[in-house]
Structure formats: C-alpha cells, structure tokens
C-alpha cells in the first residue's frame, strides 16, 4: 500500500465517522455551542475520538517509523502564542456562525447542497487572504 492509498482509506473512514456522529448536520454543531438549548452530541464525538486516539498514540509512537514512511511528521512547536489564540478565536467565531468546520464541510459537499460548497469556497479564499496578510506582516 502506498501513502496516498492509505490516506484515501483514512478519508473515507473519517467521513463515515463524521456522518454517523451527526457532525455533518450544522444544527447539531450549533446546538452543542448553544449553552441555552444544549445538544451534548459533539461532546460524545470528542470523547469517542480522543478516547481511541489518546490510548493508541503513545503505543504507535514507540515504533521507530510509521509503516509507510521513513520518519514521523508530528508538530513540534510548544509555545502558546497570540497568533495561535487569535487564530483559534477567529476560527471559533466562524464555526459558530456556519456550524461547519473544514472536515464536515468538505464531506458535506457530496450532498450537492449549496451551503457546504459555498462555505468551502469561502474557506479557501480565507486561507489565501491569510497567507497574503501574513507575508505582508513579515516584511
């Protein structure tokens, strides 16, 4: 198996998980973020996902390398920066507005509905705007 084939299978499993969990339904996300009329579903999604991954992560990392690559590609930064927090805040606001985050939005494009497709288009524009702003600030 090659890395791309593996990644494709990962994508399919991820999408099915998203669908089953209800995260491709924006009202369930907004319901989780609406403390007044709280839908706790997303909490259980996180518990399920983190529960599995947190236990298996250290076990897998004991290997010298991943199965299909020569080295690990795990982020190494540790500093909590204003950039991290402001970015997360902006993301959070957008997430609460639309009820979409990147994964569910891409998956929901398969529905053919306008909103996920437009969301993803706007997301791409937002990413490009940021990279340009970032480059300008660096100067």
């Amino acid at each position: 198996m090659k890395q791309a084939q593996g990644a494709f299978i990962v994508g399919m499993i991820f999408a099915i998980g998203l669908g089953l969990s209800g995260m491709t339904q924006p009202q369930k996300v907004i319901g989780f973020l609406d403390l007044a009329h709280w839908d706790p579903s997303l909490l259980f999604v996180m518990v399920g996902a983190i529960g599995v991954h947190a236990i298996l992560y250290p076990i897998i990392r004991k290997r010298p390398t991943p199965l299909l690559d020569t080295k690990w590609h795990i982020p190494t930064r540790t500093e909590i920066t204003p950039r991290l927090m402001i970015g997360a805040a902006i993301f959070g606001i957008g997430w609460g507005l639309g009820g979409f985050c990147p994964g569910p939005a891409v998956t929901a494009m398969a529905s053919g509905q306008a909103r996920p497709i437009l969301f993803v288009l706007a997301l791409l524009v937002g990413m490009v705007i940021f990279s340009k702003v970032d480059r300008l600030i660096a100067k």
């Binding site: 499993i13 999408a15 990392r61 930064r77 991290l84 957008g94 639309g98 979409f100």
Partner: protein
C-alpha cells in the same frame, strides 16, 4: 436522544480510528485545515496523500448520501451571506491558528499538546460566544 448519543460516540470512535490509522501508516497528524491549506501551495501539492485524503472524505460523503441523505440535513437558518462570512473566518482563523477541530481538538489534545489544548478551549469558547451573539442579535435557529 439515546440513539443520538450512541451514534455520536460511535462516530467519534470511527474518527479516532481514522486519525490513528493516518498516524500509524503515514506518521501524520490529521489536521484537515492544514491538509487543505498545504494544497494551496505548490510544495504541498507534491505529495499525493493530501488530495487522496480529501478525495476520500468526498467519497465517504457520497457513500453517506447514498445510505441516507439525512446525514447532511441542514435545518439551520444561516443564509448564504452568513455562510460565506463563516467560511472566510474559518479559512483565515484555522490558517492563523494552525489547526481546527481535527488537528487541535482530536489529534493535538490526544497527544497532550498544550498548544492544542489551549487552541481547542479557545475555539470552543468563541464558538459558544458566536452562537450566543447571533441568537441575541438575530434570533432564530
């Protein structure tokens, strides 16, 4: 509500399995915003695994649609303008903050990354504020 909770948990477990598989096979974190952002640059496009992953998401989506279009039911009242603004903010914010719910929320938190724990708490808090503000100013669902 009972079925909801079980489906949510099972769905979450599948997501956990998916990101664990990505780690085991390719040694990578499944940060979907990062995967998309990298594809916008030529260096990111060199590796096939990123587009393969996103294609997998789409194919999984089509499978879900075949099984039950209800998986994508959207009963929110957020219109096109709101959705476009939301997309812009999510694209901008995830790039600036180096991650989203999959990268920070699932992968980062699972490996006890302080950056990810802080980022996750931050976007959750602002998500709550965003919904509250919308409801207060505009109302509805």
């Amino acid at each position: 509500m009972n079925m909801d909770f079980l489906n949510a948990l099972l769905g979450g477990v599948l997501i956990g399995v998916a990101v664990t598989l990505m780690l085991w096979l390719n040694g990578r974190v499944t940060g979907i915003s990062g995967i998309i952002a990298e594809l916008l640059s030529t260096s990111g496009r060199r590796d096939a695994w990123r587009s393969a992953f996103l294609f997998g998401l789409l194919c999984g989506g089509f499978l879900l649609r075949l099984l039950n279009p209800g998986f994508f039911e959207n009963t929110t009242d957020r219109g096109i303008g709101t959705i476009l603004l939301a997309g812009l903010l999510v694209g901008f914010g995830t790039s600036m903050g180096s991650g989203c719910t999959s990268g920070h929320g699932v992968c980062g938190v699972s490996r006890l990354s302080m950056r990810s724990i802080v980022a996750t708490m931050t976007f959750m808090a602002f998500g709550v504020a965003s919904v509250w503000l919308f409801r207060t100013l505009i109302g509805g669902g």
